[in-house]
Symmetry: C2
Subunit: 417 residues, 2 copies
C-alpha cells in the first residue's frame, strides 16, 4: 500500500496531460507536454511555487520505485520504436547517407562544444575535474540527438515512414551510438578503470551483438512465429519470449557500458518485418508504455534540476550553450543531407530533427551528474537546452512543410515534411 | 542504467514461463506457475540451492524498484478485472447469493482460525503480541479469498462469464471487502491509533466511494465516451483519463486503510458496460500488466519467505493451518451456494473457487509482517498454504466438471464448470 506512488502517478499524468493539451494548440506533439511536465514538477517550477508540497510529493526514498517504472517504460518504448522501424528500398545508399548525416550532425556540435568548454570550465566544472574530461563531456552532451523523442515526434506527425523520417532516425541512431561510445570513454577517463580497453570492448561488443541479432535471432524468431502465431498474431508465449529477449538485450548493452535503450531498440529492429506481428506488438505494448510509464521518466529527470543554475554568469553560459547546440546540429545535419544529394528543404528538415535532444540528453546528463563531471547547475542548463531544442523541432518542421507546399508546384515532388 | 533490474526481470519472466509451461501439462493455469516461480526465486528454493546467487540477484536496495513495478501491475490488473466483470440478469438475487456465499465462506474459516490461534500463539507469535490481535489476524488471513488469482483462473478456464464464475467473483469481492475491513481493524488494534473510529471511517468511506463511482463517475465517463470515442474505441486522452482515475481510486482506497486493489477494481467495475470500450481497454492494458508486471509481484512475495518455518513443530502447525483453511473455505462456500439454491456440484465448484487464496493472501500476510503481528515463519507457512490451496483449485474444478459431464445426461443442464 504505497499510496505515495499512486499519488505521484496521478500528479505526473494529470500535469503531463494538461500541458500536452495546452501545447497541442500550438501544434506541439504530446510528448513535449510530458517532458515539460516533468521539469515543472521538479525544483525549477513546483519547487519554487510550493517547496513544501514538492518535497512531500517526491521525497528521496520514493525515487527508486519511480526509477524502476521509468526504466521499464523506456525499454519497452525503445523496443517498439525498433519494431516499427521500416527501412525503405535502397538500404545501402540509406546507410551511407545515415553515416554522413549522423557523422556531421555529431562532429560539428562536438567541435563547437570542445571550443566552448575552456570558457565554462573555471566557473561550472566541479572541483577536481580537469579540462579534458569536462570538455569531452560537454562536447558529447551537445552532440546527442534524442532518438526516442525524435521517434515520437515523427510518429505523432505521421512522418515515421517518410524518407526524411527514416533517414533522420537511422542517422540519429548512428550518431547516438557514437556519442554513447564517446560517453563511455569519458566515464572511463574519469573513473580511470577501463580507458581504451573499455572503449574497444564497447565498440566490439556492439558489433558482435548486432551480428547475432540479425544473423541468428531474427531467423529464430521467424521460425518461432511460424509455429506459434495464431493468424500471424503472437500468442502469450511468443509475446513473453519477445519481452524476455527485449530485457535481455537491454541488459547486454548495459553490460557493454552502453545505455539499455540501444539493446531494446536493436532487438526491436531485428524482428522479422511482419506487419501483423508488429502491429499486434505495438497495440499490446504501446499504450501502457507511452501513456503511463514514459511520463514517469520525464518527471524523474525534472527532479534533478536546480534553480541555482541562473545565478551569476549562468544565463549567458546557458545562451551560449543553446546557440552552439542549435547551430552545430542543424547545420551539421543539413550539410550531411546535402552531401547525400537531398534538396535544401529536406536537408534542413533533417538538420532540425537532429536538433531534437529530449530524453536521451537527459540520460547523458544524468550519467555526467552521477560520475561527477558536471554539477547540478550545468545539468539544469543542458536539460533546459534539451527542452528548448526539442520544442523548436515541431514549429520549424511545420515552417519547412509550409514552404515545401508553397514551392511544390515548382519542384515537382515533395516526399518529406 | 540499472542493469540489475533488467536481469531480475529476465530471471523472473524466464522462471515464471518455464514453470507455467511445465504446470500447463498438469492442467494448471499459467498464473500458478508465475506464483510458484516467485516463491522459487526466494529463500525457500534458490536461497537454498545457490544462496550467493540469490543474494546477488535480489539485494535489499533493489527491492523498491521491483515493488513499484509490481504495484502498478497489480493496480492495472485489478482495474481490468473490474472492467471485465459482467453481471448476468437478476442482479438482486445475485447480490443476496453473493452475500450468503461470501459471508459463509468467510465466517467458517474465520471461526476455525480463531479456534486454532491459541495453539499457535505460544510458539509462533512474535514477542509482545497478545492473543487477541494475533488470533484476529490468523482468522482473517485464513478467511481471505484471492480475488485476482481467482479471476485469472476463471479467465484462463474460460469461466469468467459463467454463472459459477460470476457468483464466485462477486462473493469473493464481498468476502474480501469484509476481510480487508477486519484486517484494518487488526492493524488498528495493534498500532492503537484509530481503533473503532478508524474502522468506521473505512467502512463509511468505502460505501461513499462506491456511491460516487456508480452515481457520478459512471455517467460522466459514458458522456466522455460519446464525445471522444473514435468508433467506440477510446482515444489517447480518454485512455489517459481512465488510467488517472484508476490510480486516483487506488490512492483513495489506500487512504481509507483498504488495499489499493479495491479502488482499482471498483473503478473498473463502475465503467459503462460497453463491449467496444472494455475490449479495447483490455487489449491495450492487459498484456504488459499480466505478462511483465504481475510476475514481479509474485517474485517480491517469495522474497519474504523463510526456510526456518519448518523447524520444530513447524510442519504440524503448517498441516493444521492447511487443513482448517481448506475445510473452512470449501464447506463455507458450498454451504452458502446450497442455501442460494444451487446444485451440489456447482456449490462445491464455488467452494473450491473460494478456497483460492493466491496473491491477496500474500498481500495480507505482508501487512501482518510489516505491523509485526506475525513473524517470517508464520508468513512462510501461510504463503505456502496460499500456494497449495491455489494449486488445488484447478484439478478440483476439472474433477467436478468431469463428474458434471458424466452426469449431464441425467441432470439436463450444466451451466458451470
Amino acid at each position: 500500500m504505497n499510496t505515495l506512488l499512486l499519488v505521484q502517478l496521478v500528479a505526473i499524468l494529470v500535469t503531463a496531460r494538461l500541458l500536452s493539451l495546452l501545447l497541442l494548440r500550438f501544434g506541439q506533439p504530446a510528448v513535449i507536454g510530458e517532458m515539460i511536465a516533468g521539469i515543472a514538477l521538479g525544483p525549477l517550477l513546483l519547487g519554487q511555487l510550493a517547496p513544501g508540497l514538492q518535497a512531500q510529493l517526491f521525497p528521496p526514498q520514493s525515487l527508486p520505485a519511480l526509477a524502476g517504472i521509468s526504466q521499464i517504460g523506456l525499454v519497452l518504448f525503445m523496443f517498439i520504436v525498433g519494431a516499427e522501424l521500416r527501412l525503405p528500398t535502397g538500404l545501402r545508399a540509406q546507410m551511407s547517407a545515415s553515416f554522413r548525416i549522423g557523422g556531421l550532425a555529431m562532429l560539428l556540435p562536438f567541435l563547437l562544444g570542445l571550443a566552448m568548454a575552456p570558457w565554462l570550465h573555471p566557473t561550472l566544472a566541479p572541483r577536481g575535474v580537469t579540462l579534458l574530461p569536462f570538455a569531452l563531456f560537454i562536447a558529447t552532451a551537445i552532440a546527442i540527438t534524442a532518438f526516442p523523442i525524435m521517434a515520437r515526434i515523427l510518429k505523432e506527425k505521421g512522418l515515421a515512414g517518410s524518407a526524411v523520417g527514416v533517414l533522420s532516425l537511422t542517422s540519429a541512431a548512428f550518431a547516438d551510438v557514437v556519442a554513447w561510445i564517446l560517453l563511455a570513454l569519458v566515464v572511463a577517463l574519469i573513473s580511470a578503470d577501463g580507458g581504451w580497453g573499455g572503449f574497444a570492448r564497447t565498440a566490439l561488443g556492439l558489433v558482435l551483438l548486432s551480428v547475432v541479432a540479425f544473423a541468428l535471432v531474427r531467423p529464430a524468431i521467424a521460425a518461432l512465429l511460424r509455429r506459434h502465431a495464431d493468424d500471424g498474431r503472437p500468442d502469450g508465449t511468443v509475446l513473453t519470449l519477445l519481452l524476455i529477449a527485449t530485457f535481455a538485450f537491454a541488459a547486454l548493452t548495459n553490460w557493454l557500458q552502453l545505455h539499455e535503450v540501444f539493446g531494446a531498440f536493436l532487438f526491436g529492429a531485428c524482428l522479422p518485418r511482419d506487419d501483423t506481428l508488429l502491429d499486434t506488438l505495438v497495440e499490446r505494448l504501446e499504450h501502457v508504455s507511452v501513456l503511463v510509464l514514459m511520463p514517469v521518466f520525464f518527471a524523474l529527470a525534472g527532479l534533478n534540476t536546480s534553480p541555482e543554475a541562473f545565478a551569476g554568469l549562468g544565463l549567458s553560459a546557458m545562451a551560449l550553450i543553446l546557440l552552439l547546440a542549435i547551430v552545430g546540429k542543424v547545420l551539421g545535419g543539413a550539410a550531411g543531407a546535402r552531401l547525400s544529394g537531398m534538396g535544401w528543404r529536406d536537408a534542413f528538415a533533417i538538420g532540425t530533427l537532429m536538433n531534437t535532444r529530449g530524453l536521451m540528453e537527459l540520460i547523458v546528463l544524468k550519467v555526467g551528474l552521477d560520475v561527477g563531471v558536471i554539477g547540478k547547475e550545468l545539468f539544469t542548463m543542458l536539460a533546459l537546452m534539451a527542452v528548448i531544442t526539442t520544442l523548436m523541432t515541431s514549429p520549424l518542421l511545420d515552417l519547412l512543410a509550409r514552404g515545401a507546399r508553397a514551392g511544390a508546384a515548382g519542384e515537382g515532388k515533395v516526399h518529406s515534411v
